[in-house]
Symmetry: C3
Subunit: 398 residues, 3 copies
């Protein structure tokens, strides 16, 4: 009936057959969470990036394209690195999930250069980024021995540093002032808020779906939920506190509310008490808003132009989360100081490897993207759908 | 591995261990429905309230804030009232769900005073409302012996009466005419429609998720689905019938389509035949539209200003549902008239308790919110994002 | 406790009781996918059709109404045809699912005549279409022996041919030029993109939810996922290729990305290798865009006016999928040429039956809809919410 699953004779034998049935049931059990993650990546990120006033088509459209293309490429790359045996790449729902989660890095990087690259440049970036991230994961999983699902939580860190470095090149090639088109408008901000609400609600699925042990999975869901709740509260509180006239800033709310989920990713199943998750969410939300409010001023000096603020939405919370994991491991190590110190060192090494490979790969990719070959849009066409999309009526009703 | 679950020595012993594993599997089994309810509350209500032309940021943003803060507060309050033992508050997915469902009351009340309160006032309201509702539930669960999941269905009734009373105070302090900003615009109405469609689709999960018995859960899903379907049909039919020129009114469609789900909540697993559920949905949808169309005129006389029409979306259908439950119990009582009459009395008592406590708590909260201390927005800033949000460009493109 | 399930004495006996419990657990197991399909139909199609600049209310509102009414009517019709026994119609989650999937045909047809019919005409169309499609399914299931869940995949083919024929009548009665109101505007295009992203993400649930065998179900999920991924890539590539100035066309992206899911529906659990699913998705996406770009010119000659392009979004990919299924069966038939050739003939017969019954029923319905009785909107009111909805402020802010 199902030749796909029957195409090796061995599987006809009882033992492997049972194993496969188990796998099928495992896959079916995580299918609802798979759909949560899928809608987060396809719809959540697409709309989170749709905040620019004249860039809604490209934000939503290119995100869908990168997701569709990236998943296929990530499946191939991950397949050859992690799931290759007997001359065949094994595909199951978990490997598709790992591919979907990998392309989060691409979408974060796309956020950093949002409005400044055409689709060909984005494709080139996606191809390099997915491959380097898969190699990176191989290092931290196979060499450093970190669990596979934790290795995927480095995706935010990698995407941020990769994207920011690429952005450095695209900014470098111009000295454009802040333009009208780089701002949001109320309707596009509400669309972005829609993306935020999806990501906020489904983040517990993102952090828990690949956790195998059922108890750990529930703990991951609880911890992420609590961290999201406190980071949303922190985002509002600090947005008001950092404003000169006591108003909220929509960009803070759209992004910093998600910081808790990013930060807790690394430690999602080792955190023992809800208050730790809540404190971490609070710190991440606060750090994210403070980064937006104060570090933003440093960016012209650093020559980085990060349209969507991924450095504060994903980068800073990731760093906070990485440091927290190391601290948690060290605190836990009273009984076995040496062993735990060693584990903490490995975690530190993993994060450093991710950051440095992200920077290096981003540097090379950014350099490649400055070539004439790509026919990059001129600076006057930055942040404008009109460069890429057929607009029957330009003026009317935008 | 998972110290959170291991922190009592007792749980190491076989018996309790097994019990915990069962709990984990129960939690995992309801996780997809948990996400349905979560997206209903976070996204559905946020966008349902986003219909005002200049209030989209506040509707979506403040709803997210109230959800994030309210869940934590509700977990604590519910925890101490319902799940406190051995000096510890037990948290599982069902208690988080009860917390999420409790804050529906807050979001309904926020709909009643939409555009007339700042975030500090909303926080004060949320804190009081969640606590009083939890106390209220304790009365009807522990004293009157009503099932816990049915007690959560009173959330609509409580939120409406609480919010309307609060609204009475905020209206009382002014005599403002109907302003331009209090109207919707086509784009904001489509956003509100998005919220409606989410709520409409996922309402069966809301009504069934905490039903323990699997057969009753399926019955709850079927009944809610049928009631939603007929109330949507009724909303369209009566919207056209009550219009002077045979057109539909968007506010009727956005709200009255949901009346079926509200009305059937109380009786969701005792209704025997689909036609009862369908009739109830029809009555609730019709009642909701008729309330919008005719009772609306009474509101100036009652000095109530209910921006979102929660009285007709949630209040009236809840009353219809409560009465239906009592009738259903009485009809079922042919064999045991006395016992059933007693049960019906208890139901009546529960509803009366909810309404009177909602009115009283709303009265006190409304009075508190009129204090200068809160720096409430002036009437000219009602229904306007500009009072709370940073708007780089006021005129352009709204 | 649950009288609905207890109302026959027989079920008290052990055997049937166990059977029922099994059914309940089966229903609970597919409930998450049920919600995916429900949100696809209610929200995905509603927003996919919301691309017209002045028709957002009607697109979203009427879709909800047709879904709510259509499900009830489809349940009754399907019930009497497929689930009638002992004088009772049996309802379970699978029969509701079949009803929801049946009304996809209505929503596709509504897309073809979008903006040209009032709600009464749509209701008439829905009533006829659901009944004819149910009869049609009875023919291909009971007479031709095609599996029930595969028969539901013909819904796209049926809806397209039915709707296009109806559209021929509504177009026939006028000779209107391309008007401003028939175009999209950026905000409405982003709403339509929202619908696309929902449909794109949840299509694997649509194609797999009624597959009984767990292994086949997983294969259906994988195949659909891969087909969706490649058809999205193809949609972008061919949209750029067919454009005179190398830009993307939003209508292509909104629609052709979904072609893969439509095309693979027929063969979703018999495709053996991912590359077949991917190639099929690629072909469907490409065919859909090419149809939009080139066949569109033929439409005035054919006197068909297909507002939403359902001929290319659903019709063409369905045909490609049907042909592919026949080819796959023939290729598989090396061992048993005669038997397989017979099967292929049956498939061909089923598709032909669907198309011809769709055309015939569409012809009759379209003819009925031209009567004065329906008070159809005049041509000047085509594509305009104002004809059906109360607009307090006509000019402001649309």
């Amino acid at each position: 009936m199902v030749p796909w699953l029957k195409n090796s004779l061995v599987s006809e034998q009882l033992g492997l057959r049972t194993l496969q049935t188990e796998n099928v049931q495992k896959d079916l059990a995580i299918y609802p969470a798979f759909q949560d993650v899928s809608i987060m990546v396809v719809l959540g990120f697409a709309f989170l990036l749709a905040f620019l006033r004249r860039y809604g088509f490209s934000s939503a459209g290119f995100s869908l394209f990168l997701a569709a293309l990236g998943v296929q490429w990530a499946l191939i790359v991950n397949g050859f690195i992690f799931h290759f045996s007997d001359g065949q790449v094994k595909i199951n729902l978990q490997s598709i999930l790992a591919a979907i989660m990998s392309i989060t890095a691409v979408l974060i990087s796309a956020g950093a250069i949002l409005g400044k690259a055409n689709l060909m440049q984005l494709i080139c970036m996606a191809v390099v980024e997915v491959a380097v991230f898969a190699g990176n994961r191989w290092i931290i999983v196979a060499v450093l021995g970190i669990k596979s699902h934790i290795s995927l939580m480095h995706v935010h860190l990698f995407g941020t540093f990769f994207g920011s470095t690429v952005s450095w090149f695209l900014y470098n090639s111009s000295q454009h002032p802040k333009v009208e088109k780089e701002r949001s408008k109320p309707a596009s901000d509400v669309f972005a808020m829609l993306g935020t609400l999806f990501l906020w609600t489904f983040w517990p699925s993102f952090n828990s779906v690949l956790v195998e042990n059922e108890e750990e999975k529930m703990v991951a869901i609880y911890n992420t939920y609590f961290a999201m709740a406190t980071s949303a509260v922190a985002a509002f509180a600090f947005s008001k506190a950092t404003s000169s006239d006591g108003t909220f800033h929509m960009a803070h709310i759209q992004n910093a509310t998600l910081a808790g989920g990013v930060a807790i990713g690394f430690s999602v199943s080792i955190i023992q008490y809800p208050w730790i998750a809540m404190t971490l969410g609070l710190a991440a939300g606060a750090g994210s808003v403070l980064g937006f409010a104060f570090l933003q001023r440093l960016k012209p000096a650093l020559r980085i132009h990060d349209t969507c603020g991924v450095l504060y939405t994903f980068g800073l919370p990731s760093l906070i989360g990485g440091i927290t994991r190391i601290i948690l491991i060290l605190i836990d190590s009273q009984e076995d100081l040496e062993g735990m110190g060693y584990l903490a060192l490995i975690e530190l090494g993993a994060s450093c490897a991710i950051i440095s490979l992200g920077l290096m790969a981003g540097f090379i990719t950014g350099f490649l993207l400055t070539f004439e070959f790509w026919k990059a849009p001129p600076i006057t066409k930055y942040f404008d759908d009109q460069a890429f999309w057929e607009f029957p009526h330009l003026a009317a009703g935008y």
